[in-house]
């Protein structure tokens, strides 16, 4: 019993630097967000505050047009996730079930796209969106986010699909199901964990993306959350740090909620994908 306790203590001691590094920015963010404006720049800095000001959030909401940016972010993230899944599921299914020329090359190609930073492509993408007439249109972000995430989603889905026994589909065919019926009624229900995992990743990546959103979106009413928060800091004479931090808290909360709610799928999906 004691040995278990000591062991736990040792493990936590080893883990603690990591925990501190992760939690420190959140601590600063939260404390700053609920402080009165006058206490922002006290020296030396303290963790305390004289007053817990919820009003910071409501003031910020109005002043920074937070609601509009939130809706933009939700639209872009959800649509990008939907598009990515809609295209990745058939692609992953084909890669998992069919033999075709160039399959290995295609997999390698997908992997290589992951080695390039989006920022290298930003200029080309901007010109592409110009040509398509999509600059300053949220749909340009939907398309690019979906495209950037698809390499990962296809890889992830394919490795999971490989673990679903072929026999199940064959049994469905023998039972009189068409390919489409067996896909919809047998295959996809079994692939739900993998689909959820990839959806989470795509959603979070889209939610947090900054460089492309900054490049493509010109007018402030189309800004997504990261750009909108950045706009409160960059090029201002006076930065309202408590509002910036309140906005940051609100921007990270939805992701945290989605993530913690779906993490059981994440763990199950990853485990199932790895081991049959």
């Amino acid at each position: 019993m004691t040995s278990k306790l000591t062991r736990s203590l040792i493990y936590w001691a080893i883990l603690s630097p990591l925990v501190v590094v992760i939690l420190f920015p959140f601590g600063v963010m939260f404390v700053t967000a609920v402080r009165p404006r006058e206490e922002l720049f006290v020296y030396p800095p303290t963790w305390g505050f004289t007053e817990f000001r919820w009003e910071n959030f409501s003031e910020m909401w109005v002043k920074t047009n937070f609601g509009g940016a939130l809706l933009n972010s939700l639209y872009v993230s959800i649509a990008a996730t939907a598009v990515a899944l809609l295209l990745s599921i058939p692609a992953a299914y084909a890669m998992s079930r069919y033999r075709f020329a160039g399959k290995g090359a295609y997999r390698t190609f997908l992997l290589m796209t992951q080695m390039m930073s989006p920022i290298v492509l930003v200029l080309g993408l901007f010109r592409l969106m110009m040509a398509l007439g999509l600059v300053n249109d949220l749909n340009s972000l939907v398309l690019t986010y979906a495209a950037f995430n698809m390499a990962f989603t296809i890889w992830m889905l394919q490795s999971y699909f490989n673990s679903i026994p072929r026999d199940l589909e064959e049994a469905a065919w023998m039972d009189g199901a068409s390919h489409l019926t067996s896909l919809v009624r047998i295959f996809l229900p079994l692939a739900v964990p993998a689909v959820v995992v990839t959806a989470i990743f795509t959603f979070i990546n889209s939610w947090n993306e900054f460089v492309l959103a900054l490049t493509m979106m010109r007018s402030s009413e189309d800004f997504t959350l990261p750009v909108q928060i950045y706009a409160q800091v960059a090029g201002r004479y006076q930065v309202e740090w408590h509002h910036v931090m309140a906005a940051t808290v609100l921007a990270t909360v939805p992701v945290a909620i989605v993530f913690s709610w779906l993490q059981r799928y994440l763990i199950r999906g990853m485990a199932l994908g790895a081991v049959k």
Binding site: D167, A177, S178
Partner: protein
Amino acid sequence: MSSVTIRGVTKRYGALPVLHGIDLEIRDREFVVLVGPSGCGKSTLLRMIAGLETISSGDILIGDRVVNDVPAKARDIAMVFQNYALYPHMSVYENMSFSLRLKRTAKDVIDRKVREAADILNLSKFLDRSPRQLSGGQRQRVAMGRALVRDAQVFLFDEPLSNLDAKLRVVMRTEIKALHQRLQTTSVYVTHDQIEAMTMADRIVVMNAGRIEQIGTPLELYDTPANLFVADFIGSPSMNFLLGTLEQGAVTLADGSRLPVAAAPQVAAGRKVVFGIRPEHLALSDDDNGLAAEVEVVEPTGANIQVYAKVAGMPLCAVFNERHDFRPGQVIRLTWSPRQAHLFDEASGQRM
């Protein structure tokens, strides 16, 4: 119910041939077992009947209909898979009714058929369970139930018992046979286990390296194997093979021992032959005239004893139903009825 005809069917994967021209006529209501070592092509042949593998050349007919290009779903065949392939996200009831629901059968008809099948298979108590809550034997039964509700033309079984433990395998073997006697549906059953083949089949098809070695009833294969492969494959423990030279009415071994055979075939004396005798057909000789064999290992099974011995440097196994107290190194004298001896040509491996 329907017959299945296979005419000159071949299968190649790229340049690699796996089936070299299979001809087989499976009669209506018959229970045919395809048996052979792994890699012999028996599962591929079954999957071609099912429509899960394409046919490289030849024809497969179900009844009078050529089904070469008919997709699996339209062949009206039910199949039991080796790993059962139960739909994990459906209950037993949903698993069994899936095919009927696809055909938009009336709800009350589905319900009646599923309950009938569940009754036959002793699954009535488990209809609401999910497959993962069932034991191996129960899952096996659900897989059969899924085939049963269909009233399909043909049942296909792909090594359905190989994932069960030895005891359950024997029970399920009997159940499948009883089921076939009751339903009389044409069945094709694939296994690598010759005992399953012997006990269940109306006719056995022995396959090896993409070819059919012999087709016949279990006793035909046991009594008159067409070649060394079948002789070796059917029967447990396997038939003993002794290399020798054919002379007048007997085979002479290297050490000079003479093994009597029934009717000496009309071939030139001095020909190299393989003399075959099943372990259970050997008996202890009353006098000193029998074939001398030096005992190496004795394995009692309770019902009988299996004696492994050496004859003229070649291994030999004998099974006795009486209890004997043999010691390793002891020399025993063996005899047999010449009618039960088999002769094979050494060069071709064919029965003489």
